[in-house]
């Protein structure tokens, strides 16, 4: 499960003029894109383009992929995910099921009773999980108290503040004179938003939240506890949600504007048709046809979580982990973080008329965003 593409900011590649290529297709299909800049090497299998030249032997350029792979395996990955939704929609269970281990907030505080807090709180839990020699530092941020009060106005403010704080932290590290080799990345790469399965439409709260947050972070909406919807109701609900999102011009992940080439577009279009995924989470195993599967056992049948005919959990898992994890990170870094940076630097620029010299002093004259 290694995403092999250059995109990690490990070597400060952000300062390069060439745009990063965040292609995050399946590991087998890794391609280096020909960019507008002529400095990029072209792999020998690409059709001859006017600027390149033909190679008449094996050079060994592709070995750079192996080098990168080894390096990233040594350094490991970081992935920060946030889950947002009303209490009881199965957020913690979903996170546990996604990563097949007890990584949620509830797992680390097992003795606490379920109580709705009076204000939205943010709690982050970090774990390091390892698979086939690849280490991943996973941080899950939970938001208990979101949308549970009677008056939910501005319940998204603490969340927006948190996300911006993480950007700010990264920015501070970035503009230091002596920077660390690897800046610790706590920025939120993806925000999974849980929609209650009413079966009718998106509620005003959902719309408000997604509208505000899709501008600063990748939002992945999912329909929670989807075992309460039949297949027809599910299809209708999804259509209605897609129509609502379009009406309000909310662009959720994968965003259409950031498709880089036709292949990507085709792939992402297929995903976009199915957004939001209807998921069911489960942490108990049952016996079905001689196999042990994760599922929920009811009086009328067993709902298998990993069965694509039952629910779309496999699609969500593939999106978040197997195929688009690196893409999520890249878009966070290249798009959302950059826009934050531009905003911040413009703000701190305005009181002083001289251009920014990258001095830390200027950046510290900060105004709240």
């Amino acid at each position: 499960m290694v995403a092999m593409a250059p995109g990690d900011a490990a070597d400060g590649g952000w300062a390069a003029v060439t745009p990063e290529h965040g292609s995050s297709l399946e590991p087998e299909e890794c391609s280096m894109e020909p960019s507008a800049m002529p400095e990029e090497e072209m792999p020998p299998s690409v059709a001859p383009s006017p600027a390149g030249c033909q190679l008449f032997g094996y050079v060994g350029i592709e070995a750079v992929l192996d080098q990168m792979k080894i390096k990233t395996m040594k350094t490991g990955f970081e992935f920060n995910i946030m889950v947002v939704g009303q209490s009881g929609l199965g957020k913690s269970t979903m996170v546990n099921t996604l990563f097949k281990s007890k990584v949620s907030r509830k797992a680390s505080q097992p003795s606490q009773e379920e109580r709705i807090p009076k204000t939205v709180q943010l709690q982050s839990v970090t774990h390091v999980i390892e698979e086939k020699g690849v280490k991943m530092k996973l941080t899950v941020t939970d938001t208990p108290g979101f949308g549970d009060q009677i008056n939910n106005e501005n319940c998204w403010d603490p969340i927006i503040k948190y996300i911006n704080e993480q950007y700010e932290r990264y920015l501070r590290e970035e503009i230091l004179i002596t920077r660390k080799r690897k800046i610790p990345d706590t920025r939120v790469h993806g925000c999974v938003y849980f929609i209650p399965p009413t079966g009718h439409w998106l509620r005003p709260l959902d719309l408000e939240f997604m509208r505000r947050l899709s501008k600063i972070v990748n939002v992945v909406p999912v329909i929670a506890k989807a075992d309460t919807l039949t297949l027809e109701e599910r299809a209708e609900f999804k259509q209605q949600i897609q129509a609502d999102l379009k009406t309000h011009a909310i662009s959720v992940y994968p965003q259409e504007d950031f498709d880089q080439d036709p292949d990507d577009r085709v792939l992402n279009d297929r995903i976009r048709e199915k957004i939001p995924f209807a998921v069911v989470g489960a942490d108990q195993e049952h016996q079905v046809n001689g196999k042990r599967v994760l599922g929920r056992k009811t009086k009328w049948g067993i709902i298998e979580v990993e069965n694509p005919a039952h629910c779309e959990f496999p699609l969500l898992r593939d999106l978040l982990i197997r195929s688009h994890l690196q893409d999520l990170k890249d878009i966070t870094h290249n798009v959302h973080y950059e826009s934050y940076r531009v905003r911040r630097l413009n703000e701190s620029n305005r009181p002083a008329l001289s251009p920014l010299n990258g001095l830390p002093g200027k950046a510290e004259g900060s105004s709240d965003l």
């Binding site: 379920e114 106005e153 009718h200 439409w201 005003p204 719309l207 929670a224 009811t298």
Partner: protein, 504 residues
Amino acid sequence: METKHISLTSPSMPAVLIQDFPLDFEALNLEARFLFIPFVCVVGFGIGCVFLCFFFINGLCLLLGVAPRRGFRRRRGAVAGGAGPAAGRGALPALAGAGGAGAAPAAHTHSPSPPGRAPSGTPALGSRAGRAAGTMSTGMRYKSKLVNPEEKQDHEKQYVGFATLPNQVHRKSVKKGFDFTLMVAGESGLGKSTLVNSLFLTDLYKDRKLLNAEERINQTVEIVKHTVDIEEKGVKLKLTIVDTPGFGDAVNNTECWKPITDYIDQQFEQYFRDESGLNRKNIQDNRVHCCLYFISPFGHGLRPVDVEFMKALHEKVNIVPLIAKADCLIPSEIRKLKERIREEIDKFGIKVYQFPECDSDEDEEFKQQDRELKESAPFAVIGSNTVVEAKGQRVRGRLYPWGIVEVENQAHCDFVKLRNMLIRTHMHDLKDVTCDVHYENYRAQCIQQMTSKLTQDNRIESPIPILPLPTPDTETEKLIKMKDEELRRMQEMLQKMQQQMQDQ
């Protein structure tokens, strides 16, 4: 020897007869002899007949006294069937007790005398026996032509006839029809409309338009009424469903229950005015009899908005909390959620509708059902508008890739319990509690407010303390009378128009 002429008609006869009655026949005249013997025979025969009759009647009476006691050793349980026969037979055991106590000292053979009657002391015996005899004599007068004294007819002798009262009430109610107002409240998308359709097997919401995105942003809580007339086996029910779209949907839901409490108060107020008016013939009862509150199954218990809503309404209407869309919960989760909700209802002091206690002399089966009902509150329900094929039968249910949920299967959800409770067993009790408890509370509050307001006003006008309820002057009384007349006329016209429209 001198013959004495004994003339039977002589005035001094009695004295002579007693003292000087000749005991020898030979002394008598021949005629006297001939008259005397038949006379004696006739008199003797007559006296004998009288005695015989007397004994015969007494014996008959004794027999009758024993029979009713034997007949009423029947079990009370078998008797408690419908309302009619029960009331009738309730009267009879009372008489049987009296008859039994009266005859008890006479024969000590019977064992199960009705409780409470056995230890009747002898001092009371005389009156009871007299009473028993009295009724028996009336019974006898009533059935003097009886040839066959069987058991059934014996206790019909004590039958007064008011046991048919419940039947009369029943007949009148069937003619008049019933009405029931049900309110459904809860967030959108919890399956309220589907459940109402499933409960009453109609489609009340066929032309419902769902709002589009812009309208939804500024949506406020509305009150929508749907009325439908249902008839089943000759019994008419006018069902009104009060829906509350928009409840709990906005971002800021502060006081989103206010339109609902206002509506309920309005109905109470209207009824109060109608009841206090001069013409009370055609009062329309629009008071809300029951409110089904849908709790979301996705939470871990009650949400703040649920608690606030129920606290605002528990004194005004019967609240029946339900767990909606229960097909997303596995049985252990349902149990936990129900316990949690019950705890929180107790903790916050919410007075939901309590099922009345069943009488102590009901069957064990009935008591068991009642216990089960109480233990499964709040009901976890599933509704469905569609009919699916399950195990060869067509049932109301929901078809999933992993199985079929049957709405009317008790193992799947509590829909059947809810329907039985709401319609088949407790509908009348819900109406009674609304009339007797909630409406009376409202009325008492209203009157208190009015009197306190009047005292306040009067104190402002004059410093002297006046009686709390000053009588209105005649002019205003006349005005009120006129307005009431007008109202009554308008009501009648409206009803006529409604009838005409329905006939068309």
